[in-house]
Subunit: 254 residues, 2 copies
């Protein structure tokens, strides 16, 4: 019998979030699971790391199951670093992050703590997948996702991801899906609408709100897939070089 | 006479850092300067945005010069969003971020608050450049950089960056440079070495340290350029799709 894969599970909504509990239950069917996740919500943390502060990371038991669990005061990226360097005896065979309560499609990938954890694992040479559901509510229905998460995870273990690539998987908010689509990241951005307020002492402050604007009409994008009830799978890289612009840039008189 | 460009200046070391003061002095020679920068250090913040907290942003005067200045309680990416949405009358013609005290070459680009500000501007359709010096000290010598920063900035204004691309400019720590090199991001990563300690109450905590490991022997990388006293210029994109892997991924039985 083959050895069970060692799977690191993390997220950005905090270790008690229903999304990560669902993900843990699926991963328990596949391998030996170690959870290292933030003690509280870390949404929108991007690829933040803690360089000027102490990091706590303690063993904890949230609910039943064979998994080992640790919660940390750090960011999602910190959790992966701590897991690899301090908690695990060996490099994990896989890192999964999520299930995020809310979308990480399109440009959201760069703000996402969930995806940053997956990217951090990728940077360290660990195959990684981020899972997200387009439903921000705490009590979102994660159940219909389970068989697809298992299927995609087994596929990654079997087929192996190339170096420098992780997967960004988003689920539309619906009961049944039209299938899985491999996509590219849609060209989109947030148009900010700050809510300007005054605090009780009269000082002005802002609260970030915004509107997501999809400028991309392509039918090969994650936004298109999700709008059409498909599960979107975007291969994500962390070589940010705009290779196609290098030749032109060399023609500039810099 | 042509209208002077409107230039937004930000950073991640905080509004009083010598790096941003140098950058402001150069930009004052080129255009109308508005500074919106974090009130304190935000290094390693990656592309974090503040979604669950109040954001302050107040007019301030740090030192002489024609620039308008605002300091914010937010992250570098927040500063760009606040500037564009609340502070500026019109979309800026350029956003420059830095000069960072320390390297943002290679994989550091994904952890960098400086580069995230530039990327955030790029997402919003504003030409943007991040500048960094490979010297972490507060009293680093930024003087030799000034003429190159001016030259690169004028070149960006004249030649225009394509949509979806910003520049990541790093300076080696030396008095004279061998020139400017257009590069790709080197394949490298940090190998963590957490320092495990006990707090005064006996609870264990960790402090993140690490060793930068360059796995890339290419002479077309930013790491090579910097090691050879060249100024590195990497065009950076925020479409993270690993386009080259899409065909292969479609052949998987997902």
């Amino acid at each position: 019998m083959k050895k069970k894969p060692l799977i690191l599970v993390t997220n950005d909504d905090g270790i008690t979030a229903p999304g990560i509990r669902t993900l843990i239950s699926v991963m328990n069917e596949i391998g030996d699971v170690v959870v290292v996740a933030p003690e509280g919500p870390q949404s929108g943390m991007g690829h933040a790391v803690t360089i000027d502060d102490a990091l706590y990371c303690d063993a904890i038991k949230i609910d039943d199951g064979p998994q080992k669990e640790y919660n940390s005061s750090g960011t999602p990226a910190d959790c992966v670093k701590l897991a690899v360097s301090e908690i695990l005896d060996r490099k994990p065979d896989l890192c999964v992050s999520g299930i995020n309560h809310g979308s990480n499609s399109s440009i959201n990938v760069i703000y996402s703590g969930t995806m940053s954890a997956a990217v951090e694992a990728g940077v360290e040479g660990i195959p990684a997948i981020g899972f997200s559901l387009l439903d921000y509510s705490w009590n979102a229905n994660f159940k219909p996702l389970k068989k697809y998460i298992k299927q995609i995870t087994l596929s990654v273990i079997e087929n192996k991801l190339p170096e420098g690539v992780v997967l960004n998987v988003n689920f539309p908010k619906c009961e049944t899906f039209n299938g899985i689509k491999v996509c590219r990241q849609a060209r989109a951005n947030w148009v900010e609408e700050f809510d300007k307020r005054k605090n009780p002492r009269g000082r002005e402050y802002y609260w970030l709100t915004g509107k997501f604007v999809n400028k991309d009409e392509g039918e090969d994008t994650d936004e298109w897939a999700l709008a059409n009830n498909y599960i979107s799978v975007v291969p994500v890289q962390f070589d940010l070089t705009a290779h196609s612009f290098i030749k032109k840039l060399n023609s500039w008189d810099l």
